[in-house]
Symmetry: C2
Subunit: 407 residues, 2 copies
């Protein structure tokens, strides 16, 4: 029978009532002729409750023990879902990360999956069981418990689909699929029927939080068809697939925005070799992720260097920069937390020129000033004043997508 | 350094504040020169919370999945205690049942420990770590999660002490030790300095709920010195040790009572071979534990057969008996839930006659009727009307222990 991997998030298993509904949904898939492997997250709120306990003890809890703690959340939900399946007569069996050897590296809190031993899962499927696997967790080569980071259950599901050679990986969530823009901002936004892995990666990294970026990379590497759809309805969602010829006809698949970054500028630093390393070395050592970096040399041999960091980290970054100021001979620092990154994404850009120019025109027509620009092969991101975020998304959607008819 | 295994129950780790206090206690033991392996239970209330979730799904939850669910409770407490130790600078490391291969049989919910792989624990101790091991849980040979039943953490601790060849196993609890009687019933009751394993086993099986009986059997089999003491003070508690010569001078070490049984009588059953099997087979099949059984043949070829079962199971036992009635040709059934079992225990009985006679006299002098009697080499139990329980304990304690001076 064709094998489906289904993943249900914390909201989908957030109460006993919902767990029973998920069980019913799984059984429907089984009845129409699928073998089913299910991956579940911890019940909604549980991970935060556990983190709260850890933080009552330590401001920065030990990483290894924090993973032991957090992995208990998924252990509870796999057991409850399996109980719910068995209670209505569906043979089922739960497995934890260590039981099917979801082996990861030892990077506690953000481990990467290296391999999965599918033996027990395949046996259970052959015996007619629905197999329920704990998401988010694994073990390293020495059997230490690891977790994959927020959204890690998506990666668990995609990895299982890859290692089990499943027909598809269904990600059940509380939205109907991937949209051309956030419908809360842009009423014109429509659900995409299909999107390429690369576009989804760009959208995920530019603020569209439907799927964790690492799971999409995994899906791309193993060509796993991923179906993002709603737990609460049976309508088709959005398929993540390899890039297809027809996708190139669409210039822009989606418009995303992200208000969670802050902008830091080092004013008039001497433009000399080794400067960037001197500045970003200590930032990286503090585990602060820098997103965009812009540097423009000017005539007088100095340069303004601007970069963005997560808003939550900007004070830490600032204090690091202030210490570095004398060494890099900067004249000063400015910080702006009232910024937004707005991005347009589409594989069509690879073969069509003029997307950037049109994007700048559209924003200029609204009087929106562009503070930073960053591009990839299939994405253009601009940083603007945060107050224009929603306006920018709407006008860009209107210009690139609104008139294309059905996407 | 001499190795101590310490076990802390759910009340001792019932809140973050208490977990921090336990960490301080462990560090004191480490500072005075002990290596320490700690076994913890789930935080107080957690096991019941998880069971409540399971019972929202199924009246009789699947045993395998119930164990997966319940084992998560100890996972949380080992992580939190290890975090608390590390936070105050004490190197520490948690281990779950599967990580140190606490291998058990596959009897979910009441598994027995077969072996423990001490390699990782010994390594961690050598590295200076306090090792924190999840109690109550293990894995079977196929890596399925198992639990040891209520009070199983005591058994985990004693088993670890045995396999690690520890100097002693300290069981920290909310009482000061093992008493000659329940101090709540009998103000004369005193803490015992030492008690033999056999006496403790009899006391545990007759209602004194300080230690789970299986852990005491384990301690006896491996001659592990067990020290039962209070989490909340530093006074010496009670040592469980091998029987010593001097113990024989004490006729009775303790008086225990148990109101959790019900008495069922099958009236006038034909006294013929195979009868007991016919009656107790279906009771055993329903996993009901029968305690005392009394049968007296009478002249007319019939017999009254009386037995006791846990009060919680008496309705189930009754409905099984009613079905069996025609087959065994009984004239009727009577049930009494208003009973108590009162027991006196002491290794001195082995070498001294007359304890039973004195016990019956003492009870008769108070007008307390004896409904059933059961004896072992070092114990005499009687079933009486529940309303006399406290009175019986007090007069027996006064008669056998009260005047012996210091125990």
């Amino acid at each position: 029978m064709p094998l489906l991997v289904q993943k249900y998030g914390g909201t989908s298993v957030g109460s006993i009532e919902r767990i029973k509904q998920v069980a019913a949904k799984i059984i429907r898939a089984k009845r129409v002729g699928h073998d089913v492997v299910v991956v579940v997250s911890a019940m909604a709120g549980e991970t935060n409750r556990l983190l709260g306990l850890a933080h009552e003890i330590a401001e920065i809890p030990d990483e290894r023990e924090k993973d032991v703690l957090l992995a208990s959340g998924e252990q509870v939900s796999v057991a409850l879902l399996t109980l719910a399946l068995k209670e209505v007569g569906q043979p089922a069996r739960s497995y934890l990360g260590h039981q099917v050897r979801i082996e990861t590296d030892s990077a506690y809190g953000k481990a990467r999956i290296l391999s999965i031993d599918s033996t027990k899962i395949v046996q259970a499927i052959k015996a007619g069981d629905v197999v329920v696997v704990a998401g988010f967790q694994g073990v390293d080569e020495d059997d230490n418990i690891t977790t994959l980071g927020r959204g890690g259950s998506d990666t668990s599901a995609v990895a299982l689909a890859a290692f089990l050679n499943a027909e598809a990986c269904e990600i059940y969530t509380d939205v109907d699929g991937v949209f051309t823009a956030d419908p809360g901002i842009c009423p014109q936004a429509r659900k995409l029927a299909r999107i390429s892995y690369d576009e989804m990666i760009e959208l995920a990294s530019t603020g569209a939080k439907v799927l964790e970026i690492r799971s999409v990379e995994f899906a791309k590497n193993y060509s796993v068809p991923v179906h993002v759809r709603s737990t609460f309805s049976d309508v088709e969602g959005t398929w993540l697939v390899n890039e297809e010829e027809s996708m190139n006809d669409v210039l822009v698949s989606g418009v995303a925005s992200d208000k969670n970054e802050a902008k830091i500028t080092l004013v008039r630093v001497p433009d000399q070799p080794g400067l960037a390393a001197q500045i970003f070395g200590p930032i990286a050592d503090a585990h602060i992720v820098v997103d965009m970096i812009i540097q423009n040399a000017s005539e007088d041999g100095t340069t303004d260097l601007t970069f963005t960091v997560p808003k939550a980290d900007h004070k830490k970054a600032l204090s690091i920069m202030e210490k570095a100021l004398p060494a890099v001979h900067a004249k000063g620092i400015t910080v702006d937390t009232e910024i937004a990154k707005v991005s347009v994404v589409g594989v069509g850009m690879r073969t069509h020129a003029g997307v950037a120019a049109k994007m700048f025109q559209v924003l200029a027509a609204e009087g929106i000033n562009i503070e930073m620009i960053s591009t990839s092969e299939i994405k253009i991101s601009v940083v603007i004043n945060a107050k224009y975020t929603e306006l920018a998304v709407r006008v860009l959607h209107e210009a690139f997508i609104g008139k294309q008819g059905t996407v």
